[in-house]
């Protein structure tokens, strides 16, 4: 959604409403560098920047250069600015906003420590109770040790999902880079915890002792495969749901270019938005509950 303004720019140029559904997912630096075009070559539509690089230019840009105006090129869009691991990007910004949202809700919301809670405090207590109950119900009393860890995952995903629904925002959880790290964190910690707690008995997870003996090796192979597929499904489910929803909203918005269709388009976007609000919570819930289920496997590997 970050590229709404650019979409409008496109529209001005091509004479219609044009949307690029996937542009909202581009990770870009918060502070892109710019450079002025120093000279242009009309034969191959290229410009030479003041820094010496050559970039392709549009006809409008060449025209405005030739009429004596300054033409500034965004170096990131031109592929000349590299994204380092430490570059502050829109992804970093929206993760920081998620952290802020969590601080406002859980820390500032509960700062009065009121026995009769305010609205904000009751939401904070609700979130605490929701995840705490989930952990205790699924993992039992031993699971409470991992409650802060599960709560961290839940709060990050739920706030990132909801922040991603704001217009012009960037949804960090729609990126595989993010969800794969989250899923791998769960997968690795659960596996390591399982072996540390149970030793080789953790392998009993794959040996279904309640099944008939001849079936067990086959089941073991299936169990093993499903165990290693867990992080894949865990991560793709979250990113895929969010990406699809956001892209579909943008595609519907693209239909609004036809004036006749635009009321339907607005209705469809409204409906999709409602669905996305639901998905934002449900996906966070699903991710968290699966984390709890995997944790339970590590704590009690027997079936």
């Amino acid at each position: 959604m970050a590229t709404e303004a650019q979409g409008a720019e496109h529209a001005a140029e091509s004479g219609g409403l044009v949307f690029h559904p996937m542009d909202q997912f581009i990770v870009k630096p918060l502070f892109p560098q710019h450079s002025e075009v120093a000279s242009v070559s009309t034969s191959d539509l290229n410009g030479v920047l003041s820094t010496g690089e050559t970039v392709p230019l549009s006809l409008q840009q060449i025209e405005s250069f030739q009429s004596g105006k300054e033409v500034i090129v965004n170096l990131f869009d031109a592929g000349l600015q590299k994204l380092y691991w430490f570059t502050p990007t829109n992804a970093a910004l929206w993760m920081a906003i998620a952290v802020l949202a969590i601080i406002v809700l859980l820390v500032m919301g509960s700062s009065r420590r009121a026995v009769v809670p305010s609205r904000m405090q009751s939401i904070a207590e609700l979130a605490y109770g929701f995840v705490h109950k989930m952990v205790v119900d699924i993992c039992g009393k031993e699971g409470v040790k991992f409650f802060p860890y599960v709560m961290t995952l839940f709060m990050f995903i739920v706030s990132a999902n909801f922040l991603g629904l704001l217009p012009l925002s960037f949804s960090t959880t729609s990126h595989f880079a993010v969800t794969v790290v989250l899923a791998l964190l769960v997968f690795l910690s659960v596996t390591i915890l399982g072996f540390v707690k149970n030793g080789a008995a953790f392998l009993g997870l794959f040996w279904v002792s309640s099944a008939p003996l001849p079936l067990r090796p086959i089941l073991a192979v299936i169990e093993l495969i499903s165990y290693f597929v867990r992080p894949v499904s865990h991560s793709i489910r979250l990113a895929g749901n969010l990406m699809a929803g956001h892209a579909v909203i943008k595609v519907f918005a693209g239909f609004a270019a036809l004036t006749v269709v635009s009321p339907v388009s607005v209705l469809a976007i409204t409906a999709m938005y409602g669905l996305e609000v639901l998905v934002a919570f449900i996906q966070a819930y699903v991710f968290t509950i699966l984390t709890c289920v995997y944790l339970k496997d590590a704590l009690h590997p027997s079936h």
């Binding site: 140029e13 091509s14 996937m22 542009d23 997912f25 581009i26 990770v27 539509l45 690089e53 970039v55 392709p56 230019l57 549009s58 006809l59 840009q61 965004n74 869009d77 031109a78 592929g79 000349l80 590299k82 994204l83 380092y84 691991w85 430490f86 990007t89 992804a91 970093a92 993760m95 920081a96 998620a98 952290v99 969590i102 601080i103 859980l106 820390v107 509960s110 420590r113 026995v115 405090q121 904070a124 207590e125 605490y128 109770g129 409650f147 802060p148 961290t152 709060m155 990050f156 960090t172 729609s174 990126h175 595989f176 880079a177 993010v178 790290v181 989250l182 964190l185 990113a239 990406m243």
Partner: protein, 185 residues
């Protein structure tokens, strides 16, 4: 990297301007952004974990257990007060019954006292009335006696007068003797 986009740019520039800023396929699969996202994600998660485990969760947990304690205490206090209220009601009922009995007793006593006073007063009044009646009886009988005497005198005088008027010399003793005899009859 630079030359790649450069070439792509050539092709794109022929159609529209700057195809580079519209996503080529899925931006999610642009692996050049992965280190950046992963780094910031790890920073975010660590920050959230420390905020939650150090500040938010202990505080909210404390609030919840404090509330549970308050509720338990309040319930116990309510139970106590309920028992006290029942006791108070019993005491009140008892006091009420006592007061009623006392009132009954006082009323009976007062009634008896009044009755006694009344009896005394009635007896006294009766005595007075009978005294007065006796006195009156006496007065009446005196008056009656006086009247008889007067009749005798008047009769005697009248008889003596009549005798003297008829030209006889009246003998006083005879007259009075005759009158007395007549009057006896």
């Amino acid at each position: 990297m630079a030359t790649e986009t450069h070439d792509a740019g050539h092709a794109a520039a022929e159609m529209t301007h700057a195809a580079a800023d519209s996503a080529p396929g899925m931006p999610q699969l642009d692996f050049s952004t992965f280190p950046n996202q992963i780094f910031w994600l790890v920073v975010t998660l660590v920050v959230i974990y420390f905020i939650l485990s150090r500040v938010a969760l202990p505080r909210i947990g404390g609030i919840l257990s404090e509330r549970a304690g308050t509720i338990t205490n309040d319930l116990a206090a309510a139970e106590d007060l309920k028992v006290k209220a029942a006791e108070a009601e019993d005491a009140y009922n008892k006091a009420l019954a006592e007061a009623r009995a006392e009132a009954q007793r006082i009323a009976t006593e007062a009634r008896a006292e009044i009755q006694a006073d009344l009896d005394v007063a009635i007896a006294k009044a009766d005595a007075e009335i009978s005294a007065k009646a006796a006195e009156s009886e006496k007065a009446i009988s005196e008056i009656r006696a006086g009247a008889l005497e007067s009749i005798e005198i008047v009769a005697r005088d009248t008889a003596a007068e009549i005798v003297s008027v008829l030209g006889f010399k009246s003998d006083e003793a005879a007259v009075s003797g005759a009158v007395t005899e007549r009057m006896k009859g």
